[in-house]
Structures are given as C-alpha cells and as structure tokens.
Amino acid sequence: MQRVVITGAGTINALGQDVTQTFAALAEGRCGIGPLDIPDVDRLSIRIGAQVRGWTPSEHFDLRGLSLYDRMTQFALWSARQAVDQSGLVFDGDLALRAGVVLGTAGGGLGTIDDSFRAVYAEGKNRVHPLTVPRLMASAGASHISMTYGLRGPAFTVTSACASSNHAMGLAFQMVRSGAAPVMLTGGAEAMLTFGGLKAWEGLRVMAADACRPFSADRSGMVQGEGAAVFVFEALDHARARGAEILAEVIGFAMTSDAHDIVMPSADGARRAMQGALADAGIAAGQVGYINAHGTGTKANDSNECAAIRAVFGSDLPLVSSTKAAHGHIIGGTGAVELLACLMALQRGLVAPTVGHQRDDPECGVDVVPNVAREAQVEVALSNAFAFGGLNAVLALRRM
C-alpha cells in the first residue's frame, strides 16, 4: 500500500480564483454570497447565491475551448491548471500512461442544458449549438483535463449529488493507495446557478432567501454557490523521489449509505461514514482536530450532523465549521472546495469560521468556530459530505 499525499491544489469559487485568494477570504471570514446576476433572476423567489464574479473565459481558453467548455468544465480546467502547475509534474512516458483523473459533479453542463432548452422551448428555435452534447456531458470536465495533460490512465466522473466530490476524491485516494495509479487529479466542479437549476431547487423549499447560517438557531436553509477545486493526489514515494512540496497526506476514506430517505438525512449513516474514515486511517477519534462539516444550513442536516459528530467523538469534540456560509453550497463540487479549508487548517494552523452565525442552537452543541477564524494546531482533519439520497463520503487528512 502506498501512502498518498497532495502535491497540488487549484480552485475557483465565489471567494477567489485561486487557493491564495480563497485562503485569504476564509481566514478573514469573508462571505461570497450576494445578489445573483443571471438571466430572468426577477422570476426567481430565491435571488442570492455565491456566484463567481469577474471570470472572463476568453482570458483562459482559446476559441476551440470556448465553444467546447461549459462553465463547469471551465472551472474544472482552470482549477486543474493551478494544481498541476503547483505540483511541478510533467506527464510523459510511463507516468502519462498510468496517471488519470476522477471528478465529481452533480449537474454536469447545466448551463448548456439551460441554454439549449431556452432556445428550443422559449425562443422557438429549431436548432441548438452543434456542440451541445459534448458540452453538457457530466464527464466533460474529466475528459478535457485528461486531454489537456495527456493523462491516459483511468479517467471518469462520479455523481452522488452533494457528495460527488468526496466520492471522487475517495476513489482517487484508493487508486493511488492501491498502486493502480501513481498520480490522480481529482476534485469536483459545479455550475448550477442557472435559471433552470435554481428553479428546481426552489421547488424543494429548502433554500434561504437572505443568508446561509449553518448551525445557527435561526438558520433558514441553504444558499447555492458554484465553482471547482482540483487536487493532485500522488504516491508519497513518487512525490519524495522528485522532491515535491507536500501539502498534506490523505489517510482515510469511507462511504456509507443511509438506505433511508431521498431527502432526509440519517445520523446513523453519517456516524458510520466518519467512524469508517477513522478506521481506514487507523487513527483514534481523539486525534481529529477539525471537521469541515457538510453544514448546509438546513434544519434537517445541521442537527443531524451534530448528533452524528457527538456520537463519534463523545465529549472530546473537535472544532467544526461549515464554509458553505462563505462559498455557498457548490453541490457536486462542494467537497472539493471544502477540502481547501482542511488544507488551511493543517498547513497554516488556521481553522476557517462558520460565518453568518447569530445564535447557538442547543440541538447542535458543538463549537462551530462562529464568524472568526481560529488558530489551532490541527494534526488530522475530516471533510464530511452527506448527500440527498443518503450517500455519505468522508475523507481524513493529516498534516505533513
């Protein structure tokens, strides 16, 4: 079995267009949620989101790319570029044949779907953009990353709603650990802030109209974001042999299913996923210093998640925060962006806060690092993702 380390990270989200900007925003407790700027926003009842601003695709991609890449794929490619650059890896020879990419997304190329439906249904057109299918494929991001870097090993996209990224990164971790691939690019991307995407979410009546306040007694639901994060997962021996800078070690992963309800979470499934990740890592609960919570800001998730955390950690509770209040719920890409908060805790000893916190909820009963980042020596961090449909995936990372 190989030890697995992270040697590169990249991101784009409402807090910033790279890791440095995102860390700075998390450290300052900045919130990326604001009024949405999308077509037909006046017909939405929820008009806020954590939207990526100031993104000009033509600055990053050529004409062929611009016609081929949905916004989700653009985010994935831009994040991958930063991660590969940081890692210093050059994919050639045997490495190129064995390295791969596994991404998570829930909606795939939703903007492309939205645009084409608008053209044929609303505008009465009888044709759509000829590249609509390759743009909207959920797997397009993984394909374009593989083509851009010549990764010729395993490449695919997994989808498990809000846990997609964690499932993707967990599989990448298992592939590197088992020796199936020496290097995997992994993470997730989502660009669901479209009229159709938001209309669908409105229907469930779980969205907050004003702010995302995870774990706060007055929380009123989730707020959507968009973006991506991509990491380089690499065998420790491979990274050491080339003198790579190591950001953190990935030490454990577990996935469980509630087998219970299509929208309501179960504390049992969440508890088993966290305990499974600890067992996979071979560590005791007491070694965990920080949990990046799923923390959606819904009534149902937050109290359920805290019950599961208390069941795993008893009275020796680690710090817990939800950064969704800052970068929004990035759905299939959220676990990847949230892994950055774990990296910040491990690398910098700084735990990102849960912003928007107003009042403790006695049903939660954990230290959620309200509003202000906190210095803490964190040896091990967990990242939770608990999706609709009861699909749970938890990663464990250790400081190097």
Partner: protein
C-alpha cells in the same frame, strides 16, 4: 362548500392517500402523516390549482405566514391569497 374548498379537499386527500370524505375542516395536517416531500408537493398543487404563490420554507414549517395547521386553515389561507390577487 365553495369550489375553492372542494378543490383543496381533493388536493389534500390525494396527497394523504385518503378520500375527500375522510377530511373535515378540523382535520389537522399533523394527523395525516404527510412526509416532507408530500408537504412540498401539496403546496405546489395548491399553487398550480389557484395560480398563487404560497410562502413556505421547509426549514421552519411552524413559523410560516401561511397557516398549514388544518384543512380549514389552508382553505382560509388560500382564500386570503386569492382575495389579495383579486384586489
């Protein structure tokens, strides 16, 4: 019974897997064992049937402007929204 009330009886009965005759204005929604999905479907059906917009957030069903506590309360609330629309 008004047409509005009849329609609401039919909608609630369908979601609760009952006959409209099983319901009275006093029937409490809490006694109908509607799960969270049935609740949002019920509200959607009311909105579609009457072309209204019902304020409802599943995160805090108890603290709504729209009274969903009983069949009669829902009828009154829908009639309120309809009269606002007419005004």
């Amino acid at each position: 019974m008004t047409q509005t009330a009849q329609t609401i009886f039919a909608i609630i009965a369908e979601k609760a897997l009952l006959a409209p005759s099983d319901l009275t204005p006093e029937t409490r929604l809490a006694d109908l064992a509607l799960d969270s999905l049935a609740m949002v479907e019920l509200i959607f059906a009311l909105e579609e049937a009457f072309d209204i917009s019902v304020p409802f957030n599943a995160n805090d069903p108890a603290a709504q402007e729209f009274d969903l506590s009983s069949v009669g309360a829902i009828i009154a609330a829908v009639e309120g929204l309809l009269s606002q629309k007419a005004a």
